[in-house]
Symmetry: C2
Subunit: 225 residues, 2 copies
DNA sequence: GTATTATTGCGTAATAATTACGCATATGAT
DNA sequence: ATCATATGCGTAATTATTACGCAATAATAC
């Protein structure tokens, strides 16, 4: 039997949402190959850590990000995808609230930066493909799983949620029907707090009730936009 | 940097459909660990083959199966999942038409057998978990992608398709509404052939038109049951 | 050969879900 | 006070889903 010499890495596409824009966290590579090019954060898996642990460790090391939601995306294994040799990479996608921490570059990264998804730089390896798949997955997923809340502040006005969905889905949504639908799902708690931004009627704040969501899911009631 | 010593394998959950039953192809392991226990077919990835090539090679070697549809399922990487050491496995799920070839056991398998999914034996490693995830994926997927046809003969009476869906989804479907819906999707060609099985009015044969499906998909028209 | 049974195939009505849209309400700005 | 702006509630029109009746065409029983 031929000895297997395949290396295993993890990569993470991390999405954030601020000021009506979806952004992705990228690092500038400090070393070859693709030195000084932008890439998705990631790195090799250690012998005794799980894949999720590897992702969270690498993200912490390279960017300082604390992940809020993490999900396995796909495993990329084309023999030619890394010039150093055979590297199979398990890609994840994650959601964070950018305003809850400060990003910084270290270890393999010389820079860390948020890029809005319509202004992306050229990427290393097959990271362009990974990123495109992530965006599609995110767009698909928010219509049948309540993961959008992971991108918003814990307490948010309804208009923030609506803005997020119009941005992510890339189309207009009727505000009144959207409100009816979401509130009808019964996964939001209406708080006794109001917030006013600029002119206009002040908005009530809402909060996602995860416990209630799991309860409904167990009863077979599905979340769908 | 610590040298990485992780092995990479692929596993494939292969589904077949015959006589109104969904079956999974399992092998009996010839060697330790889990010698003489049932398992999902699979094995280690070679240095210079793609992951899909590895799956198809292992299936051919161990079982003689020629796969009809193959899709990546999930990557399982818990450090403790294999008693031999760290083995990360990329699981696939596949669909075949069992009546188009003969299965046989060889290399790592002492036996190969179809098991209906409600009469499964005890499985090796974390293969139980992999299989459960596969079944869920299959059930979910047939409602929004026309992959069910990969399990049927190329030419089939409508009742076969209906039977497949009731079996997979585990619930009754109104024959007349189902027919309207599927035919309305415009992805089936009605042939000028009829088939009669036992008594009753002979049924027209249909054939899935993949070209037409891709065309409709490109136009944004979605398949959904 | 005729009646019976089984299965296919086409239609229409009742119900539910989605979409479109009018307008009152509450605040900041002038 | 008046206007501009954004929130929040309702109802009607449209579309999709579900329920179900029944004719058509064969094998089978007698």
């Amino acid at each position: 039997m031929i000895k297997q010499s395949i290396k295993l890495s993890v990569d993470a596409v991390v999405f954030g949402y601020e000021e009506g824009k979806i952004s992705v966290l990228l690092i500038k590579r400090k070393y070859e190959p693709f030195k000084d090019k932008w890439a998705i954060p990631g790195g090799f898996v250690l012998n005794d850590e799980s894949l999720e642990e590897a992702v969270e460790r690498e993200l912490q090391e390279e960017t300082g990000v604390k992940i809020n939601y993490l999900e396995q995306l796909y495993t990329f294994g084309e023999p030619s995808r890394d010039p150093r040799g055979r590297v199979v990479s398990i890609a994840y996608f994650g959601l964070v609230r950018p305003n809850t921490f400060k990003i910084f570059a270290s270890t393999d990264a010389s820079e860390v930066q948020w890029f809005t998804i319509d202004e992306l730089p050229e990427l290393s390896f097959d990271h362009q493909e990974i990123l495109e798949m992530s965006i599609k997955r995110l767009q698909g997923k928010i219509t049948y799983e309540p993961i959008g809340f992971e991108l918003l502040d814990k307490k948010f006005p309804f208009s923030d949620l609506e803005k997020l969905y119009t941005t992510l889905l890339g189309r207009e949504i009727d505000r009144r029907n959207f409100r009816k639908k979401i509130l009808g799902l019964n996964v939001l708690d209406e708080l006794d707090e109001k917030v006013s931004k600029g002119s206009g009627r002040p908005a009530n704040l809402f909060q996602f009730n995860q416990k209630r969501y799991f309860q409904l899911k167990k009863e077979g009631i599905i979340f769908e936009i």
